[in-house]
């Protein structure tokens, strides 16, 4: 009897040991042929190759017919990027120069471009079509032999998308406005970047909401548009790539920037770029972000210089801001949040704006020595008293300091005094105080564009001009925004970019707005120097919570860079690709089905996997979390950390170069942090993501 009990006991113990061994070995998570068959294959994608292929296909299709000015080949949205654009192709028997005219409602909204040379093969970009209309496009052909020909074409476009923001034009005086179109740049990935004409009509928009996040778009000397691309390094806008592109959506050069770029980028006189950026090791191996300015060599794409604000300013200075919630042990301290950069070539110095510190700092590019700081005198005591020597003394009347400012730019010299520098910036006015108890409530606050004159010898600051205070809290924008001097008219284009509203009432919860929990509106006003409004448009959300305008840029719709030959060459890729290498993590031996993952982007680009997504933990979004991607088959497993953001967001680019060729299931592992301490214990989950990847 005893022996029998012993045998049963040993058998059960053996069975349990084997079962435990099986369970914890991870064998239960090895993908089966059936599960792989059900999984969705990750696609390969490379925007440069895809666009080149598209151009080749267009030319091949065009080659199947005979096209003339009266019967041209028209392809709408040729790069599937801007639905209010088209390409017109045709041949002429004699060399000719073409003029394309996109008819508008009046002379200020009619756009014309004449090609620079005489050819027999014609590729004409059509920009500025209206949405949901039969657009009239005129082609005027001027032959070299003196003959002329006109061709009228009609291009029917679709209505704007259902979630396109609502635009309400309150003032429009086109004859007093700067010529061109307003490029309305989005910040959040639920909003569009688009073009507005002088009447406030949409004349172009980009369907890809993943590029140009919260970063300037600037027209380069060569006519191309420069902004950030669509590979996200860290939420919500630190992007791995820069795109040199045009308004059709064609990318000519993609720059790979390991540091990632956010907020601002400018072209220097030699063609290089200066950008607000990060330490390249951020976020995995560097504990702060958005506090470095980088210089990028235009020819190679390499980062050739870095200006680390932590070596110039005090990262521990802590003014009150509305960038909450406060996260204990935040993995990447955002103490500076640099949002603009400017080069003062006169003395080789750099001017940066830090809205979190409510400071604009000028420092020498060689010595890193501070020249001056635009800042209220509040909060420069104790360890920071050493910076008091750089603070400027206000002179003159009606002076007010700027708070949470954006877009600090040097203006052209108007007083012929080499000792002075005029600075235009957007004073958002956030809090208007260093401390919370003294801060101004949003309902009583205002935002404004302001011009300061700084006397660098006397270390004084004078307020020359302002606009926006008179609008009161109706235009109060806690965050985002821009102010540009327009060169032809002297008007100033002002963007009240991030107007946070709850039930129409101004509030200050920035993070809540960024993650879609509080409505973000915006307003763009063009004013004459005397303060008369000549354009005023309000932007409100439509089926989303966001209608922010990160910046507004007045640009010419056409410039000569729009002339290029289809299929001549693939776009160039420059710079250094950064991707996360495999890491270690103790994987559970079995699935813990608590994670629901959705991918916004998941594609293989050469030897990397681009990832951007959101996860829920037991169907709920948590403030803090960590997601790792596991590539697993019967023989191999590779674990990659992604970069975490708030509210279940994750992103990154994973290095597949060391992954053995084969087919892998993709799993997600990780979870959420209980509480608000980023270093806290993770509540785990482990799920199949529903995808597989074939690594060659």
């Amino acid at each position: 009897m005893k022996n029998k009990l012993l045998i049963i006991f040993v058998t059960i113990a053996l069975f349990l040991a084997i079962a435990a061994g099986v369970v914890f070995s991870g064998v239960l998570t090895i993908p089966t042929a059936a599960s792989l068959a059900k999984a969705t294959e990750v696609q390969s994608y490379d925007i440069l190759a895809a666009q080149y292929q598209r151009e080749t296909d267009i030319l091949a299709d065009y080659g199947k017919g005979n096209y003339s000015p009266q019967h041209p080949y028209i392809i709408q949205d040729p790069y599937q990027a801007n639905p209010l654009s088209a390409l017109i192709l045709f041949e002429t028997t004699e060399p000719a120069q073409t003029t394309v005219t996109v008819m508008g409602k009046n002379q200020y909204s009619t756009f014309t471009y004449t090609s620079t040379g005489f050819t027999t093969h014609h590729e004409i970009a059509v920009l500025g079509l209206y949405a949901g209309q039969k657009n009239q496009v005129e082609l005027a052909i001027n032959y070299q032999n003196g003959q002329k020909e006109v061709s009228e074409q009609t291009v029917q476009t679709e209505a704007l998308p259902y979630d396109f923001p609502n635009l309400k034009v309150q003032v429009s005086q086109p004859d007093k406005m700067e010529p061109g179109v307003d490029l309305m740049i989005s910040c959040l990935d639920t909003n569009y970047s688009y073009l507005l004409d002088a009447n406030g009509d949409v004349r172009g928009y980009f369907t890809n909401k993943n590029f140009g996040h919260c970063t300037a778009m600037r027209v380069l000397q060569n006519g191309h548009l420069l902004t950030t691309g669509d590979v996200l390094k860290l939420m919500p806008y630190n992007m791995y790539t820069l795109w040199e592109m045009n308004l059709l959506g064609k990318v000519f050069v993609e720059y790979e920037i390991p540091n990632a770029v956010h907020h601002d980028i400018i072209e220097l006189s030699n063609g290089d770029f200066l950008a607000t950026s990060n330490n390249a090791a951020m976020p995995q191996a560097y504990d702060s972000r958005e506090d470095v300015v980088i210089r990028i060599n235009r020819q190679t794409g390499a980062v050739t210089d870095q200006y680390d604000l932590r070596q110039i300013m005090d990262e521990h200075r802590g003014p009150f801001t509305n960038y909450t919630p406060g996260v204990i042990h935040a993995p990447n301290m955002d103490w500076a949040h640099l949002n603009s950069v400017e080069m003062d070539a006169a003395d080789n110095s750099i001017i940066v704006s830090s809205p979190i510190q409510s400071t604009v700092v000028k420092f020498n590019a060689d010595s890193r020595q501070i020249d001056w700081i635009i800042s209220s005198p509040e909060g420069w005591s104790g360890a920071d008293s050493k910076y008091q020597q750089y603070l400027l003394t206000p002179v003159g009347e009606n002076f007010e300091w700027s708070w949470g400012q954006h877009a600090a730019k040097i203006l052209p010299d108007t007083d012929n005094d080499p000792n002075t520098t005029d600075i235009l910036l957007m004073d958002n006015g956030q809090a208007r105080s260093f401390t919370q108890d003294q801060s101004v409530a949003p309902a009583d606050n205002y935002s404004r564009a302001v011009i300061y004159r700084i006397n660098e010898t006397n270390k004084t600051i004078q307020q020359l001009w302002e606009f926006g205070k008179e609008l009161g809290s109706s235009a109060y924008a806690t965050f985002l925004g821009d102010a540009d001097l327009l060169p032809l008219t002297g008007n100033i284009n002002i963007d009240f970019g991030g107007m946070l509203r709850q039930n129409g009432v101004p509030v200050d919860n920035i993070v809540s707005g960024v993650i879609g929990k509080t409505q973000v509106r915006s307003r763009v006003v063009e004013v004459q120097p005397g303060g008369q409004e000549v354009f005023d448009v309000s932007v409100t959300p439509n089926h989303t919570s966001d209608s922010e305008t990160y910046q507004v840029r007045k640009i010419a719709l056409y410039n000569p860079s729009i002339e290029y030959a289809l299929g001549a060459s693939e776009g160039q890729r420059k710079g250094e690709i950064q991707a996360n290498s495999p890491t270690t993590y103790k994987l559970p031996g079995f699935f813990i089905p608590r994670l629901t993952v959705s991918f916004k982007q998941l594609y293989q680009q050469n030897s990397t996997l681009v990832v951007e997504g959101n996860f829920l933990y037991q169907n709920q979004a948590y403030a803090l979390g960590k997601i790792l991607l596991v590539l697993k088959n019967s023989g191999q497993q590779y674990i990659f950390a992604t970069n975490s953001g708030l509210n279940g967001e994750f992103a990154g680019r994973l290095d597949l170069s060391g992954v053995k060729p084969g087919e892998y299931a993709i799993y997600v592992v990780g979870g959420v942090v209980d509480g608000m301490d980023a270093l806290g214990k993770i509540k785990p989950g482990y799920n199949a993501a529903g995808y597989k990847i074939d690594v060659k």
């Binding site: 709408q76 949205d77 639905p83």
Partner: protein, 172 residues
């Protein structure tokens, strides 16, 4: 007796299966030779309204459900198609949406809605662009608004551009 009962049961099962298959909303494809543009419909749905509940996460982590609705004009329904439009021929003629129509049993034609961008919001995503197509393959959803009475009878989808005559029976 028992065998007879089992046979009857089997017969009923087969009939049920047949009915089930017949009731599925899958269109009958009518292959047409020498197409320049080919339309293939993978499924379609008829809806008298569309509703979507958007879960908006609140600061405290709770979810606020916001309901969105979209309704056709009075007496009409939405016919929502998932289709693939592919350039398969060698001619360079574009795919022109005006030649793609739904026809009812009385011979009336209905064009694609001028603006069906709302489909994305109701999980009919991706939507096929309504721009004139020149090349390549496009897959996604599109929407027609048709009389509710017509939706109960025979419906066909036709594309009648030169070189691309095609008819797909959606329902008999």
């Amino acid at each position: 007796m028992q065998k007879k009962f089992i046979n009857s049961l089997f017969f009923v099962f087969i009939v049920c299966c047949s009915l089930l298959v017949a009731s599925c909303q899958t269109p009958k494809k009518t292959p047409a030779p020498d197409l320049n543009w080919q339309v293939a419909v993978s499924k379609f749905e008829i809806k008298d309204s569309l509703a979507a509940v958007e879960g908006v996460t609140q600061y405290d982590g709770s979810i606020l459900n916001v309901t969105h609705t979209q309704t056709p004009d009075s007496g009409k329904v939405y016919l929502i198609l998932e289709a693939t439009v592919s350039k398969v021929g060698n001619q360079s003629d574009p795919f022109d949406w005006q030649w793609l129509v739904v026809k009812d049993s009385a011979g009336n034609s209905y064009s694609r809605m001028e603006n069906d961008s709302f489909l994305d919001q109701y999980q009919f995503s991706p939507r096929i662009t309504g721009l004139e197509l020149r090349l390549g393959e496009y897959s996604g959803w599109m929407c027609f608004e048709i009389p509710a009475a017509a939706a109960k009878a025979k419906l066909t989808l036709t594309y009648t551009a030169a070189g691309s005559q095609q008819e797909i029976v959606l329902q008999k």
